[in-house]
């Protein structure tokens, strides 16, 4: 089997973060997180672990909800959703995310769609994985212009969930909830610390020589190129077609 493409590597990196998750929700236009969740589910199935459920929001086929668009938020509040993905126009070093727009608010010169459910789910879902493929100092900023949802909260604020990790096209960061900061836990193959530092608008802790994020094993690649891609193609045909080459 040929080596993993950068996208395949990224998918496997995200899938590894889902370890132990039984129920995962994915946004409608998030093919890489969706692929990662499907790979996680496929790996659980072949190794006989308990079944994994995935809901792709806005999808009819991959949507196990029956109580309208409120049900995702309700089930998250009930503690039934183990992992969710969020992106953001800006993400800062304290884990704050901005899905609304650049300053000044409200007349943002650059306006993004809006906060969606982030102001709630970021508090409620135990493992929120921030995913943003382009790793860029305009995205990864020191301080977001608008807080759609804060990275941490004061201790008396009810908050079972929060950021768990940040995955970009260049690196993997873990979020340290006590410190309220990101820590670099791996560079993807072909990326080096200095370039990542230059591309990141916030400071972060890191080992002197950061490890490389693990390459997908043969089984993961074979699942990804077989059943996962087939399932993926139902919802994201274009993405599935270019998966291996990208």
């Amino acid at each position: 089997m040929s080596g993993a493409s950068p996208r395949e590597h990224l998918i496997c990196t995200v899938a590894d973060l889902l370890q132990g998750c039984r129920t995962i929700a994915v946004g409608a236009s998030s093919p890489i997180p969706a692929a990662a969740a499907m790979l996680h589910r496929a790996r659980a199935a072949v190794s006989g672990r308990p079944p994994v459920r995935i809901s792709i929001l806005g999808s009819v086929r991959h949507n196990f909800f029956t109580n309208g668009s409120a049900e995702l938020f309700d089930s998250a509040a009930q503690g039934r959703i183990d992992a969710f993905f969020l992106g953001g126009g800006q993400i800062d070093g304290q884990g704050n995310i901005n899905l609304v727009g650049t300053a000044p608010y409200p007349r943002s010169p650059l306006r993004w769609p809006g906060s969606f459910g982030s102001s709630f789910l970021y508090f409620m879902v135990p493992k929120v994985i921030l995913f943003r493929e382009d790793h860029d100092p305009r995205v990864l900023v020191d301080r977001v212009d608008f807080i759609s949802a804060p990275g941490t909260s004061e201790p008396h604020v009810a908050r079972p969930g929060g950021p768990h990790a940040l995955v970009t096209g260049k690196a993997l960061f873990r979020f340290d909830r006590d410190a309220g900061r990101f820590e670099l836990s791996g560079l993807h193959p072909g990326h080096d610390l200095e370039a990542v530092r230059a591309a990141t608008g916030f400071g972060f802790r890191h080992a002197p020589v950061p490890p490389v994020t693990p390459a997908p094993d043969a089984e993961s690649l074979s699942l990804l190129r077989g059943p996962v891609r087939d399932t993926l193609a139902e919802s994201y045909p274009g993405f599935a077609a270019q998966l291996q080459s990208a």
Binding site: G68, G101, P106, G114, F116, G117, F120, H156
Partner: protein, 276 residues
Amino acid sequence: MSAAVPGLMTPGAMASEVHSGMRLALPVDYAGVPMALMPHLVAGGARDLDLVCVPTGGLQPDILIGAGRVRSVETSAMTLGEAGGAPCFRRAVAAGDIAVRDATCPAIHAGLMAAQKGVPFMAIRGLIGSDVLRHRPDWKVIQNPLSEVADPIVVVPPIRPDVALFHCPVADRDGNVLIGRRRELASMAYASRHTFVTVERVIDGSLFDNEQTAAGTLPALYVTGVAVAERGAWPYGLGGEYEADTAALRDYAAAARTPRGFDAWLERFVADGGMP
């Protein structure tokens, strides 16, 4: 047969029930967007509309904004999905032409739920420390009244739209409509004073005749009027009926990148009666 359906009207008559200054609830892209009303709404005179997107908006509010009919938008997001950002919305925001009440999806659901339950507020977790909350003077952080320890929580007021508009596959002879799994449409109807529904078709029987369709039915109790509009969600899709016309959405996104392009698109859209 159809003549006996309570509240049966034309799309044009339905659109004329929307008056200036009303608060309008509009559904999310995938829940049945009543696009067939748009040429009539745009041709009509209603202005200063306050839109509530349940819980996010797309083409429909963007057109209303572009056409200068909107005073404010309450929404959790505004997007054309794969076709990109909502161009008229972005322009109006940057220009300060509309008031945006940025929300988060479950807060919109909570506001509708408060209206559904007839209570003056609904609590919601999360939000504390966000700028979403900071910019909503109508929301408030209170101490949980049932807790002895510090437990701040947000309360939001009811959302009670004057009119809810959406599109469904089927209405029956009694004015009941089939919403299936799209229960946010029921929430909109429960919360709203009036609900107008465009449908692909009217059937002669009753959706209550069998329990399976009954389970997915919004009762006529909540439906003020029904209008037949085949392919009435176009260019959006309708679950179980037809897919979204992504090319048409992209055409819109490209055209509406400039005000002039939007005006030309709108003129053609109205001239075509909103049909493909």
